[in-house]
Symmetry: C2
Subunit: 196 residues, 2 copies
Protein backbone atom coordinates (compact mmCIF):
# COMPACT_ATOMS: atom_id res chain seq x y z
CA UNK A 1 0.00 0.00 0.00
CA UNK A 2 1.08 3.58 -0.58
CA UNK A 3 2.99 4.80 2.49
CA UNK A 4 1.00 8.05 2.87
CA UNK A 5 -2.29 6.19 2.79
CA UNK A 6 -0.94 3.64 5.27
CA UNK A 7 0.13 6.36 7.71
CA UNK A 8 -3.25 8.05 7.44
CA UNK A 9 -5.08 4.78 8.10
CA UNK A 10 -2.92 4.21 11.19
CA UNK A 11 -3.82 7.66 12.53
CA UNK A 12 -7.54 7.09 11.98
CA UNK A 13 -7.30 3.60 13.51
CA UNK A 14 -6.08 5.14 16.78
CA UNK A 15 -9.31 7.13 17.21
CA UNK A 16 -11.80 5.82 19.76
CA UNK A 17 -14.22 3.20 18.36
CA UNK A 18 -12.37 3.03 15.01
CA UNK A 19 -10.36 -0.10 14.17
CA UNK A 20 -8.02 -0.75 11.25
CA UNK A 21 -10.80 -2.07 9.03
CA UNK A 22 -13.09 0.94 9.57
CA UNK A 23 -10.11 3.31 9.27
CA UNK A 24 -9.24 1.78 5.88
CA UNK A 25 -12.80 2.31 4.64
CA UNK A 26 -12.84 5.87 5.97
CA UNK A 27 -9.52 6.87 4.39
CA UNK A 28 -10.29 5.26 1.03
CA UNK A 29 -13.75 6.84 1.06
CA UNK A 30 -12.30 10.27 1.79
CA UNK A 31 -9.50 10.07 -0.78
CA UNK A 32 -11.75 8.69 -3.54
CA UNK A 33 -14.35 11.39 -2.92
CA UNK A 34 -14.29 14.02 -5.64
CA UNK A 35 -16.30 16.68 -3.81
CA UNK A 36 -13.41 17.74 -1.57
CA UNK A 37 -14.70 16.12 1.62
CA UNK A 38 -11.18 15.22 2.77
CA UNK A 39 -9.98 18.83 2.58
CA UNK A 40 -13.11 20.23 4.17
CA UNK A 41 -12.89 17.74 7.05
CA UNK A 42 -9.18 18.50 7.53
CA UNK A 43 -9.81 22.25 7.54
CA UNK A 44 -12.72 21.97 10.00
CA UNK A 45 -10.51 19.89 12.27
CA UNK A 46 -7.61 22.35 12.06
CA UNK A 47 -9.93 25.27 12.76
CA UNK A 48 -11.52 23.53 15.75
CA UNK A 49 -8.20 22.37 17.20
CA UNK A 50 -6.98 25.98 17.12
CA UNK A 51 -10.07 27.69 18.54
CA UNK A 52 -11.65 25.09 20.85
CA UNK A 53 -10.41 24.87 24.46
CA UNK A 54 -11.91 23.92 27.84
CA UNK A 55 -14.18 26.54 29.46
CA UNK A 56 -12.13 28.40 32.11
CA UNK A 57 -14.79 27.69 34.70
CA UNK A 58 -16.18 24.20 34.08
CA UNK A 59 -14.01 22.44 31.48
CA UNK A 60 -16.69 22.04 28.77
CA UNK A 61 -15.08 22.49 25.33
CA UNK A 62 -15.88 25.88 23.81
CA UNK A 63 -14.44 28.55 21.53
CA UNK A 64 -15.44 31.37 23.90
CA UNK A 65 -14.06 32.40 27.29
CA UNK A 66 -16.97 30.75 29.06
CA UNK A 67 -19.06 27.89 27.68
CA UNK A 68 -22.75 28.11 26.82
CA UNK A 69 -23.74 26.63 30.21
CA UNK A 70 -21.54 28.88 32.36
CA UNK A 71 -22.64 31.99 30.48
CA UNK A 72 -26.34 31.14 30.90
CA UNK A 73 -27.59 32.75 34.13
CA UNK A 74 -30.78 30.67 34.05
CA UNK A 75 -28.59 27.67 34.81
CA UNK A 76 -27.37 29.20 38.08
CA UNK A 77 -29.91 27.19 40.09
CA UNK A 78 -27.64 25.98 42.90
CA UNK A 79 -27.01 22.57 41.34
CA UNK A 80 -23.61 21.46 40.04
CA UNK A 81 -23.34 18.19 38.13
CA UNK A 82 -19.85 16.65 38.10
CA UNK A 83 -19.11 14.50 35.03
CA UNK A 84 -16.08 12.84 33.45
CA UNK A 85 -16.11 14.48 30.02
CA UNK A 86 -18.06 16.46 27.45
CA UNK A 87 -19.82 13.42 26.02
CA UNK A 88 -21.50 12.91 29.42
CA UNK A 89 -22.69 16.53 29.30
CA UNK A 90 -24.18 15.90 25.85
CA UNK A 91 -25.99 12.76 27.04
CA UNK A 92 -27.46 14.63 30.03
CA UNK A 93 -28.45 17.61 27.85
CA UNK A 94 -30.15 15.31 25.37
CA UNK A 95 -32.19 13.71 28.17
CA UNK A 96 -33.30 17.14 29.44
CA UNK A 97 -33.07 15.84 33.02
CA UNK A 98 -30.72 18.50 34.40
CA UNK A 99 -30.89 22.28 34.19
CA UNK A 100 -27.96 23.43 36.35
CA UNK A 101 -24.27 23.94 35.75
CA UNK A 102 -21.67 21.29 34.88
CA UNK A 103 -18.15 20.54 35.98
CA UNK A 104 -16.03 18.36 33.68
CA UNK A 105 -13.17 16.49 35.39
CA UNK A 106 -11.53 15.25 32.18
CA UNK A 107 -10.46 11.92 33.71
CA UNK A 108 -11.03 9.56 36.66
CA UNK A 109 -8.49 8.88 39.40
CA UNK A 110 -6.72 5.63 38.57
CA UNK A 111 -3.72 4.08 40.27
CA UNK A 112 -3.29 1.64 37.38
CA UNK A 113 -3.14 4.39 34.75
CA UNK A 114 -1.23 6.80 36.99
CA UNK A 115 -4.00 9.41 37.05
CA UNK A 116 -3.61 11.56 40.20
CA UNK A 117 -5.70 14.51 41.49
CA UNK A 118 -3.32 16.87 39.66
CA UNK A 119 -4.56 15.43 36.34
CA UNK A 120 -8.18 16.26 37.19
CA UNK A 121 -9.96 19.59 36.73
CA UNK A 122 -10.79 19.92 40.46
CA UNK A 123 -8.83 22.95 41.66
CA UNK A 124 -11.70 25.44 41.38
CA UNK A 125 -14.65 23.35 42.63
CA UNK A 126 -14.58 24.95 46.12
CA UNK A 127 -14.47 28.47 44.69
CA UNK A 128 -17.32 27.63 42.32
CA UNK A 129 -19.47 26.50 45.26
CA UNK A 130 -19.03 29.95 46.82
CA UNK A 131 -19.22 32.08 43.65
CA UNK A 132 -22.23 30.29 42.15
CA UNK A 133 -24.09 29.59 45.42
CA UNK A 134 -24.02 25.83 44.85
CA UNK A 135 -26.20 23.95 47.37
CA UNK A 136 -26.15 20.47 45.78
CA UNK A 137 -23.38 18.60 43.99
CA UNK A 138 -24.65 15.74 41.85
CA UNK A 139 -22.08 13.13 40.83
CA UNK A 140 -22.83 11.62 37.40
CA UNK A 141 -19.57 9.68 37.13
CA UNK A 142 -19.05 6.20 35.66
CA UNK A 143 -20.34 3.49 38.02
CA UNK A 144 -16.86 1.98 38.38
CA UNK A 145 -14.17 1.72 41.05
CA UNK A 146 -12.41 4.71 39.47
CA UNK A 147 -15.66 6.71 39.44
CA UNK A 148 -16.40 5.97 43.10
CA UNK A 149 -12.80 6.71 44.15
CA UNK A 150 -12.88 10.05 42.34
CA UNK A 151 -16.23 10.89 43.95
CA UNK A 152 -14.90 10.11 47.44
CA UNK A 153 -11.79 12.18 46.79
CA UNK A 154 -13.83 15.23 45.76
CA UNK A 155 -16.24 14.92 48.72
CA UNK A 156 -13.32 14.69 51.16
CA UNK A 157 -11.60 17.71 49.59
CA UNK A 158 -14.57 20.05 50.05
CA UNK A 159 -14.78 21.80 53.43
CA UNK A 160 -18.18 23.38 53.06
CA UNK A 161 -21.05 22.35 55.30
CA UNK A 162 -23.68 24.17 53.23
CA UNK A 163 -23.42 21.88 50.24
CA UNK A 164 -25.08 18.46 49.96
CA UNK A 165 -23.89 15.59 47.77
CA UNK A 166 -25.84 13.07 45.71
CA UNK A 167 -25.10 10.46 43.09
CA UNK A 168 -27.14 8.84 40.32
CA UNK A 169 -29.17 5.79 41.40
CA UNK A 170 -27.82 2.34 40.53
CA UNK A 171 -30.07 -0.46 39.36
CA UNK A 172 -31.80 -2.27 36.53
CA UNK A 173 -31.99 -0.10 33.37
CA UNK A 174 -35.41 0.71 31.96
CA UNK A 175 -36.47 -2.21 29.76
CA UNK A 176 -33.56 -4.20 31.20
CA UNK A 177 -34.01 -7.96 31.19
CA UNK A 178 -32.64 -9.58 34.37
CA UNK A 179 -31.07 -12.29 32.19
CA UNK A 180 -28.66 -9.78 30.74
CA UNK A 181 -27.72 -7.85 33.87
CA UNK A 182 -24.41 -8.47 35.62
CA UNK A 183 -24.17 -9.61 39.24
CA UNK A 184 -22.81 -6.27 40.47
CA UNK A 185 -25.78 -4.33 39.11
CA UNK A 186 -28.19 -6.92 40.52
CA UNK A 187 -26.57 -6.65 43.96
CA UNK A 188 -26.91 -2.84 43.85
CA UNK A 189 -30.53 -3.09 42.65
CA UNK A 190 -31.37 -5.50 45.47
CA UNK A 191 -29.63 -3.41 48.13
CA UNK A 192 -31.48 -0.31 46.93
CA UNK A 193 -34.90 -1.96 46.50
CA UNK A 194 -37.89 0.34 46.99
CA UNK A 195 -40.82 -0.44 49.31
CA UNK A 196 -44.11 -0.30 47.41
CA UNK B 1 -23.37 22.21 22.09
CA UNK B 2 -20.76 24.54 20.61
CA UNK B 3 -21.56 25.06 16.93
CA UNK B 4 -18.02 24.33 15.68
CA UNK B 5 -17.91 21.04 17.57
CA UNK B 6 -21.39 20.17 16.31
CA UNK B 7 -20.35 20.79 12.68
CA UNK B 8 -17.24 18.70 13.10
CA UNK B 9 -19.22 15.82 14.60
CA UNK B 10 -21.63 15.98 11.66
CA UNK B 11 -18.73 15.75 9.19
CA UNK B 12 -17.22 12.76 10.99
CA UNK B 13 -20.64 11.09 11.27
CA UNK B 14 -20.91 11.08 7.46
CA UNK B 15 -17.82 8.88 7.12
CA UNK B 16 -18.42 5.22 6.30
CA UNK B 17 -18.96 3.01 9.38
CA UNK B 18 -19.06 6.03 11.73
CA UNK B 19 -22.37 7.03 13.32
CA UNK B 20 -23.22 10.12 15.38
CA UNK B 21 -22.30 8.43 18.66
CA UNK B 22 -18.87 7.29 17.48
CA UNK B 23 -18.29 10.67 15.76
CA UNK B 24 -19.01 12.46 19.06
CA UNK B 25 -16.48 10.27 20.89
CA UNK B 26 -13.90 10.79 18.12
CA UNK B 27 -14.25 14.58 18.02
CA UNK B 28 -14.23 15.00 21.81
CA UNK B 29 -11.26 12.64 22.07
CA UNK B 30 -9.35 14.62 19.43
CA UNK B 31 -10.16 18.05 20.87
CA UNK B 32 -9.38 17.03 24.46
CA UNK B 33 -6.06 15.47 23.45
CA UNK B 34 -3.16 17.66 24.50
CA UNK B 35 -0.52 16.02 22.30
CA UNK B 36 -1.71 17.70 19.09
CA UNK B 37 -3.31 14.63 17.54
CA UNK B 38 -6.12 16.71 15.99
CA UNK B 39 -3.67 18.95 14.12
CA UNK B 40 -1.45 16.09 13.05
CA UNK B 41 -4.44 14.13 11.72
CA UNK B 42 -5.76 17.20 9.89
CA UNK B 43 -2.37 17.91 8.32
CA UNK B 44 -1.88 14.28 7.25
CA UNK B 45 -5.34 14.36 5.67
CA UNK B 46 -4.66 17.66 3.87
CA UNK B 47 -1.32 16.37 2.58
CA UNK B 48 -2.84 13.10 1.35
CA UNK B 49 -5.83 14.79 -0.27
CA UNK B 50 -3.44 17.01 -2.24
CA UNK B 51 -0.95 14.35 -3.35
CA UNK B 52 -3.00 11.14 -3.62
CA UNK B 53 -4.85 10.42 -6.88
CA UNK B 54 -5.89 7.33 -8.84
CA UNK B 55 -3.09 5.55 -10.79
CA UNK B 56 -3.39 6.64 -14.45
CA UNK B 57 -3.44 3.01 -15.54
CA UNK B 58 -5.42 1.00 -12.98
CA UNK B 59 -7.15 3.42 -10.60
CA UNK B 60 -5.36 2.32 -7.40
CA UNK B 61 -4.76 5.38 -5.18
CA UNK B 62 -1.13 6.53 -5.30
CA UNK B 63 1.03 9.65 -5.04
CA UNK B 64 3.14 8.65 -8.07
CA UNK B 65 2.28 8.56 -11.79
CA UNK B 66 1.83 4.81 -11.67
CA UNK B 67 0.92 2.78 -8.57
CA UNK B 68 3.17 0.20 -6.93
CA UNK B 69 1.42 -2.65 -8.81
CA UNK B 70 1.55 -1.08 -12.28
CA UNK B 71 5.21 -0.10 -11.87
CA UNK B 72 6.21 -3.63 -10.78
CA UNK B 73 7.17 -5.62 -13.90
CA UNK B 74 7.06 -8.90 -11.95
CA UNK B 75 3.31 -8.42 -11.80
CA UNK B 76 2.98 -8.40 -15.59
CA UNK B 77 2.00 -12.09 -15.62
CA UNK B 78 -0.95 -11.90 -18.02
CA UNK B 79 -3.58 -11.76 -15.27
CA UNK B 80 -5.79 -8.74 -14.62
CA UNK B 81 -8.02 -8.72 -11.54
CA UNK B 82 -10.99 -6.34 -11.76
CA UNK B 83 -12.19 -5.03 -8.38
CA UNK B 84 -14.56 -2.36 -7.11
CA UNK B 85 -12.18 -0.27 -5.02
CA UNK B 86 -8.85 -0.02 -3.27
CA UNK B 87 -10.05 -1.81 -0.13
CA UNK B 88 -10.63 -4.93 -2.27
CA UNK B 89 -7.06 -4.68 -3.56
CA UNK B 90 -5.81 -4.51 0.03
CA UNK B 91 -7.84 -7.59 1.03
CA UNK B 92 -6.48 -9.57 -1.94
CA UNK B 93 -2.91 -8.40 -1.27
CA UNK B 94 -3.21 -9.43 2.38
CA UNK B 95 -4.35 -12.91 1.36
CA UNK B 96 -1.38 -13.28 -1.03
CA UNK B 97 -3.61 -15.18 -3.46
CA UNK B 98 -3.02 -12.97 -6.53
CA UNK B 99 0.23 -11.78 -8.08
CA UNK B 100 -0.91 -10.00 -11.24
CA UNK B 101 -2.14 -6.50 -12.01
CA UNK B 102 -5.33 -4.84 -10.77
CA UNK B 103 -8.01 -2.68 -12.31
CA UNK B 104 -10.16 -0.58 -9.95
CA UNK B 105 -13.60 0.37 -11.27
CA UNK B 106 -14.47 2.78 -8.45
CA UNK B 107 -18.17 1.86 -8.45
CA UNK B 108 -20.70 -0.73 -9.62
CA UNK B 109 -23.32 -0.13 -12.31
CA UNK B 110 -26.60 0.65 -10.55
CA UNK B 111 -29.86 1.83 -12.04
CA UNK B 112 -31.19 2.70 -8.59
CA UNK B 113 -28.23 4.94 -7.74
CA UNK B 114 -27.88 6.29 -11.28
CA UNK B 115 -24.39 4.82 -11.82
CA UNK B 116 -23.79 4.40 -15.56
CA UNK B 117 -20.75 3.06 -17.47
CA UNK B 118 -19.45 6.65 -17.73
CA UNK B 119 -19.00 6.67 -13.94
CA UNK B 120 -16.79 3.57 -14.05
CA UNK B 121 -13.07 3.42 -14.75
CA UNK B 122 -13.50 1.12 -17.77
CA UNK B 123 -12.35 3.18 -20.76
CA UNK B 124 -8.82 1.77 -20.91
CA UNK B 125 -9.43 -1.93 -20.15
CA UNK B 126 -9.21 -2.93 -23.81
CA UNK B 127 -5.96 -1.04 -24.33
CA UNK B 128 -4.52 -2.57 -21.15
CA UNK B 129 -5.26 -6.07 -22.50
CA UNK B 130 -3.12 -5.28 -25.56
CA UNK B 131 -0.35 -3.29 -23.85
CA UNK B 132 0.12 -5.67 -20.95
CA UNK B 133 -0.51 -8.95 -22.82
CA UNK B 134 -3.45 -9.85 -20.58
CA UNK B 135 -4.65 -13.43 -21.19
CA UNK B 136 -7.04 -13.79 -18.24
CA UNK B 137 -9.40 -11.31 -16.63
CA UNK B 138 -10.48 -12.32 -13.11
CA UNK B 139 -13.57 -10.59 -11.76
CA UNK B 140 -13.43 -10.13 -7.97
CA UNK B 141 -16.53 -7.96 -7.71
CA UNK B 142 -19.21 -8.02 -5.00
CA UNK B 143 -21.46 -11.06 -5.31
CA UNK B 144 -24.54 -8.85 -5.85
CA UNK B 145 -26.86 -7.95 -8.71
CA UNK B 146 -24.81 -4.79 -9.29
CA UNK B 147 -21.56 -6.78 -9.31
CA UNK B 148 -22.90 -9.31 -11.82
CA UNK B 149 -24.39 -6.58 -14.04
CA UNK B 150 -21.08 -4.72 -14.09
CA UNK B 151 -19.23 -7.94 -14.91
CA UNK B 152 -21.58 -8.71 -17.83
CA UNK B 153 -21.21 -5.16 -19.13
CA UNK B 154 -17.41 -5.37 -19.15
CA UNK B 155 -17.37 -8.82 -20.80
CA UNK B 156 -19.72 -7.60 -23.54
CA UNK B 157 -17.63 -4.48 -24.13
CA UNK B 158 -14.39 -6.36 -24.81
CA UNK B 159 -13.87 -7.50 -28.38
CA UNK B 160 -10.80 -9.61 -27.90
CA UNK B 161 -10.88 -13.35 -28.49
CA UNK B 162 -7.46 -13.97 -26.89
CA UNK B 163 -8.59 -13.12 -23.40
CA UNK B 164 -10.46 -15.50 -21.08
CA UNK B 165 -12.74 -14.45 -18.21
CA UNK B 166 -13.23 -15.95 -14.77
CA UNK B 167 -14.94 -14.99 -11.54
CA UNK B 168 -14.42 -15.94 -7.89
CA UNK B 169 -16.23 -19.13 -6.80
CA UNK B 170 -19.47 -18.77 -4.82
CA UNK B 171 -20.26 -21.05 -1.90
CA UNK B 172 -20.03 -21.82 1.77
CA UNK B 173 -17.21 -19.83 3.45
CA UNK B 174 -14.42 -21.73 5.18
CA UNK B 175 -15.62 -22.60 8.69
CA UNK B 176 -19.10 -21.54 7.63
CA UNK B 177 -21.95 -23.16 9.56
CA UNK B 178 -24.91 -24.01 7.28
CA UNK B 179 -27.22 -22.63 10.00
CA UNK B 180 -25.94 -19.13 9.35
CA UNK B 181 -25.80 -19.12 5.58
CA UNK B 182 -28.47 -17.40 3.53
CA UNK B 183 -30.61 -19.22 0.97
CA UNK B 184 -28.95 -17.52 -2.01
CA UNK B 185 -25.49 -18.71 -1.00
CA UNK B 186 -26.82 -22.22 -0.32
CA UNK B 187 -28.44 -22.34 -3.77
CA UNK B 188 -25.14 -21.30 -5.39
CA UNK B 189 -23.19 -23.81 -3.29
CA UNK B 190 -25.60 -26.61 -4.30
CA UNK B 191 -25.55 -25.68 -7.95
CA UNK B 192 -21.75 -25.63 -7.95
CA UNK B 193 -21.26 -28.82 -5.91
CA UNK B 194 -18.08 -30.77 -6.63
CA UNK B 195 -17.96 -34.48 -7.40
CA UNK B 196 -15.66 -36.33 -4.97
Amino acid sequence: MNIKIEKLIKQFAKLPRVGTRAATRIVIGLLQDKTGRAESLANALLDASKSIHPCHQCGVLTDADFCEYCSDDARKNGQLCIVRDLSDVLVLEKSGVFHGRYHVLGAMLSGVNGITPEDLNVANISSRILNENISEIIFALPNTVEGKTTQQYIISSINNTNVSFSELASGVPLGGDLDYIDDGTLTLAFGGRKKL
